[in-house]
Amino acid sequence: MMNADLRRERAAATFQPELLTHILDGGAERTRRRKEIEALVINDPDFQHEDLNFLSRSQRYEQAIRKSALMVMKLREYGIADPEEIYWFKRTCLGNFPEPFGLHFSMFQKTLETQTTDTQKKKWLPLVRGVKIIGTYAQTEMGHGTHLRGLETTATYDPATQEFILNSPTVTSIKWWPGGLGKTSNHAIVLAQLYTQGQCKGLHAFIVPIRQLGTHEPLPGITVGDIGPKFGYDEMDNGYLKMDNFRIPRENMLMKYAQVEPDGTYVKPLSDKLTYGTMVFIRSLIVGDSAQSLSRACTIAIRYSAVRHQSELKPGEPEPQILDYQTQQYKLFPLLATAYAFHFVGAYIKDTYRRISGDINEGDLSELPELHALTAGLKAFASWTANAGIEECRMACGGHGYSRCSGIPDIYVTFTPSCTYEGENTVMMLQTARFLVKSYNQVSSGQRVTGMVSYLNDLSRQRIQPQHVAARPVTVRINDPLSLVEAYKARAARLVEAAAENLQAELNHRKSKEDAWNRTSVDLVRASEAHCHYVVVKLFAAKLPEVSNAAVRAVLTELCLLYALYGISKNTGDFLQAGILSDAQVTQVNQRVKELLAIIRPNAVALVDSFDFHDVHLGSVLGRYDGNVYENMFEWAKKSPLNKTQVHESFHKHLKPMQAKL
């Protein structure tokens, strides 16, 4: 039976959640197919298991391996091969947890598909696709992360035997963190500094067998293991790998681009921009993942807030739903709006990537730098925001949010590493800033720029006037999304300009470019954030006219306004200082935000229902679709390992003797 509060909430919605679900999925047909695939998992007894929170880390790893192996078999059985369909299938199996084989399919297989010669493809791809071998991608070292050039692992070519000799020369060079490396994989793609004919040729990728096929024992010369317990990712055997004079044949270097000939001659790759492709792809996935994770947390927190009653609003009346408190709405609804915004941004990047990667295959790389710069910043912007947002959702659930049964701790610990992996966020923001400054300099020197940074072109026209670009008043209409896009644009322009000018001032004072850059980096990060924020508002606003159903368009417009106005109210300093908004307008914005909270309130539950997560996706007692929270918390707690016996053994071991002695 459904909780009465949730039933009321659902009945009061002003739109049909399914219609919004179709928009998120990209069409009614895709929603149908997604649900069909999810049902394959949900109704399959083979995928049932005990709540992972009650298991030890080793048990969780074992469960995850069981599931991973099962997924391989089932996908084969069902003939599911489309990447998106595989994704739907897997996320339903995995809930909020990672998969130890994850890197086998993403990085290992993907790299082999894109960076090998035809001969290599013929040899390796059948083994990989058939899971005859299990591989991972070993890049990060204990002492080196995002800065790839700093990696220390060496691969020295020996023409006498036509082999590469791999070494981990220092403690800091030990490969550290790769998922699936510790216990699961028997092969790895290893990134190492290539030495041939006495010269270092920089980083290259090599296929390295690490465990004996058949026995799974580490090969001689290989030291491999698990890096120990982490914040989350209990399922994943993130590993270390140390190599001592480990030899692999010459053919194990990935040679689609750079090559080492049998005599040791090094053949340079045509363009290093090509390796951007995979990075752009993975980072675009993180934007989508930010939307997913934040949506889950919002679903849990908003449903729970409709079920939970606390204190009194009106004297003498029953305790109200906590979702009726303005402070609670203020915590949750902007995040709900953000989750929608990131959905649309994620979809946009995916589409753009798909379009551009077609161009890349035809040799047109012209759009890559901008997309690379944009995804770096958006990856950081989205993952930082979602990371903080998930925690806000958890906090908004009070004490029960802290229990593992809320599911939000799992969402958080699984998501938070995305602020670090695939490019540490601050470094990502600075990459975007580099592109912004470059574009700004182009405009200053009279060139025009295109794409998302085209607003910088306006700077050249205003340069004739003595004042700053954004000092010109923008007439902001706070109920018009497009007008708000202009306000964000003006803020971004102002902060990019300020950062670029500060950078120039530092350059005028000091010798080194790097030093000046470092001394401006706080400004530069702010500029990048403002740019990304603008892009998100723009893409959200651009989505609205595409929505045909009036009721759905109305709620999405409210969310879009809330997203934009809340962002202003959180960054009023930027808008005030640049003169984009007056004091009075800021007060209006703050007021409008609160009005929007009240307007969105009746649709809040329907808006999270539209994300259409099944309970198995959420893994949360608080976020259950039926809202029967308390009964199920009690049921869940009874399964806790500490409750296995009525009297815990500690009583006999420690408590009783103590009381006897005292």
Binding site: K230, G399, T420, T426, V522, H654
Partner: protein, 659 residues
């Protein structure tokens, strides 16, 4: 050997680390005593936390109980007592990883709320551990709002007993520590009914487990609430009561009593019931909130001088990550906040000690102000420190995510403090209520408590700073904070009044202003923290460089606050756009200044390697070696990998379908 990268950081500190440590401890003698206690605890292998990161919830719980029991022995051996000066250092030395913490709250609540007879009966039993206590307030469906609790205690005059009941599932006691497995008794809060009339929430001593075999008493259902983000060592529990009868004497009756015939007698203010929580809010700051932030800063800053990444100058070695402005901007404000909150904590402790003496004399005049202080600062400090620890965690990149860094455990532990002992938003609203009341009184020319007299001095003005150096003047920034606090409080009060005058019901008007009220309460507490920091710096000794470096940190704390809340200060033009650029410039300059002393500043917190329990944060800076060694100890490396035989092998050999 000490890593040369960290050794070089310690060569030329601008101040005496040892003297600063003594200042933080409150004197040289306190430092000596603290170190002696820490040494005694850490040299005892029974208290080792070495395997903590590898243990299951069951193992953690058992270890905590074992340690708690051993601690009794140790205290006896060392001649430490619960009232002795050493006591406060014990918990710090154990990093809280010990059972029976709620037992202390049990004892404290009886001491505060019990009659003399009750104290005489229960306290000796508790101190002898003849019973183990807990404190059961929160219910499954009810938290901070005490009036909403649903557990009932009905007085039965015929048997002179209270009958306790959990009328429905949402009324089940949920969360109390030590209750899931350990406690034999608890102080349970319930709605008191006498002859059908409800008298509100009162505390009752309830026995829940047998003193003989530890089995549950009749009518009691209790157990562990299951895994949480942290506190695996604590058996947070649930408790369901079905017609549990307890004698009349088990209601704690210092302030209220039910007489044999059912007459209800009240002595003094009901508010005293909340005083336990009020003091707990303040007393938890030091160990539960400040220590984790200080530890996190220690770990992150030490790691940031060992970790090298990318090059700042071509041809040079990769730079220490602490040399990057962006890294400084993450960590150094947290370091400054740790000091700011250390000093505000000193201030609050003193305030409460004074007030406690008054309350003992049944003078409750200061209660509203104390309540506002404890609520607001509990919220402000826990929130800042929690986000500070999280920033430290993320500033350590991938390695911060490893439990072996120590940071995830610090984070998951401290973040509970935002919720327990009063959810922060609700607490801030309580402070706001006090502020609005005082503002109204002040505007009407009535006297207000000393902490809020500044509200009376509302005067429109502009910040007088002329250049970026002016913003290093405590008067300038303290004024700015004061101005913004007054503005936020007064504008919210005006808004409330407008709404009420336009016919909106009072409670509704309040709810519509709560977002602003929260902001106003934060601004007030932030202002007091800055002001107190500046005043503390004034009083510090000028020699040994202490005052100078603390002044820098105070400036950084204040300017970081303005920088990150620029809109609040720009809003009415108190600070102009040009002045805001000066603030930013001064703020960024300070980062580079404090950078030089960053490692000595965390060394001054004086945490031992064992108490940090971090592969990244040890004193010697041997990060990578330690990380590698500790990882080897993981059970995933020392035990068999059954998953291979069971699942991987069949998969690789394509025989899985036969499973």
């Amino acid at each position: 050997s000490v890593n040369p990268d960290i050794a070089s950081e310690r060569q030329t500190p601008s101040f005496s680390v040892e003297k600063l440590t003594a200042r933080l401890d409150g004197g040289v003698e306190q430092t000596r005593m603290r170190r002696a206690v820490v040494e005694a605890i850490e040299s005892d292998p029974e208290f080792s936390r070495e395997s903590q990161y590898f243990q299951s919830q069951n193992e953690r719980y058992e270890a905590a109980v074992r340690k708690a029991v051993h601690l009794q022995k140790k205290m006896h051996e060392m001649g430490w007592t619960e009232n002795g000066p050493e006591y406060k250092y014990i918990y710090r030395a154990l990093s809280g990883d010990v059972a029976f913490l709620l037992h202390r709250i049990f004892v404290r609540s009886i001491s505060m709320l019990g009659s003399d007879e009750q104290i005489a009966k229960w306290i000796p039993l508790a101190s002898q551990y003849q019973l183990i206590g807990s404190y059961a307030q929160t219910e499954l469906g009810h938290g901070t709002y005490l009036q909403g609790l649903e557990t009932t205690a009905v007085f039965d005059s015929s048997t002179q007993e209270f009958i306790l009941n959990t009328p429905k599932i949402s009324a089940m006691k949920w969360w109390p520590g030590d209750m899931g497995r350990s406690a034999t008794h608890t102080v349970a809060f319930a709605q008191l009914y006498i002859h059908g009339k409800c008298y509100g929430i009162h505390p009752f001593i309830v026995q829940i487990r047998s003193l003989q075999d530890h089995s549950l008493c009749p009518g009691i259902t209790a157990g562990d609430i299951g895994p949480k983000m942290n506190f695996e060592h604590a058996d947070n529990g649930y408790l369901m009561l079905q017609n549990v009868r307890i004698p009349r004497e088990n209601m704690l009756s210092k302030f209220c009593e039910v007489q044999p015939d059912g007459t209800y007698v009240r002595r003094g203010s009901q508010k005293i019931n909340y005083f336990t929580m009020t003091t707990v809010r303040i007393s938890l700051l030091s160990d539960e909130v400040l220590a984790p932030l200080m530890k996190a800063c220690t770990i992150a800053i030490r790691y940031s001088v060992v970790r090298r990444q990318s090059k700042l100058k071509p041809g040079e070695q990769e730079a220490k990550i602490l040399d990057y402005q962006t890294q400084q901007e993450k960590l150094l404000p947290q370091l400054a906040a740790a000091y700011a909150f250390h000093f505000i904590n000193d201030y609050l402790q003193e305030l409460f000690n004074r007030a406690y003496r008054e309350i003992q004399r049944k003078n409750f005049d200061t209660l509203p102000e104390l309540h506002a202080f404890s609520s607001g600062f509990k919220a402000l400090v826990t929130q800042h420190c929690t986000s500070g620890v999280e920033i430290c965690l993320r500033a350590c990149g991938g390695h911060g995510y490893s439990l072996l860094s120590g940071l995830p455990s610090l984070y998951t532990k401290i973040l509970a403090s935002c919720i327990y002992e009063g959810e922060n938003t609700i607490l801030l609203l309580q402070t706001a209520r006090f502020l609005i009341k005082c503002f109204m009184a002040a505007s009407a020319g009535q006297p207000v408590p000393p902490s809020v007299t500044y509200l009376a001095a509302v005067k429109p003005s502009k910040c007088p700073a002329k250049n970026k150096l002016d913003f290093l003047s405590p008067d300038i920034y303290t004024e700015a904070y004061q101005h913004s606090a007054v503005r936020l409080i007064s504008s919210t009060a005006a808004k409330l009044q407008d709404l009420v005058q336009s016919g909106v019901k009072k409670y509704d008007a309040w709810n519509r202003c709560t977002v602003q009220l929260v902001q106003a309460a934060k601004a007030h507490c932030h202002y007091i923290t800055v002001k107190n920091f500046a005043e503390t710096v004034e009083r510090l000794e000028t020699k040994a460089g202490i005052q100078k470096i603390m002044k820098h940190l105070c400036d950084l704390f204040a300017l970081h606050g303005i920088f990150s809340n620029a809109g609040v200060f720009l809003h009415d033009g108190y600070i102009s756009g040009a002045q805001m650029d000066m603030v930013t410039a001064s703020y960024l300059d300070l980062l580079a200044v404090i950078r030089k002393d960053a490692v000595p500043l965390v060394d001054a917190f004086d945490f031992t390697d064992k108490s940090l329990n971090s592969a990244l944060g040890s004193y010697d800076g041997q990060v990578y070696q330690r990380l590698y060694e500790w990882a080897q100890k993981s059970p995933t490396n020392t035990q068999m990998n059954p998953a291979y035989e069971r699942y991987l092998k069949p998969l690789l050999h394509n025989t899985l379908s036969k499973l």
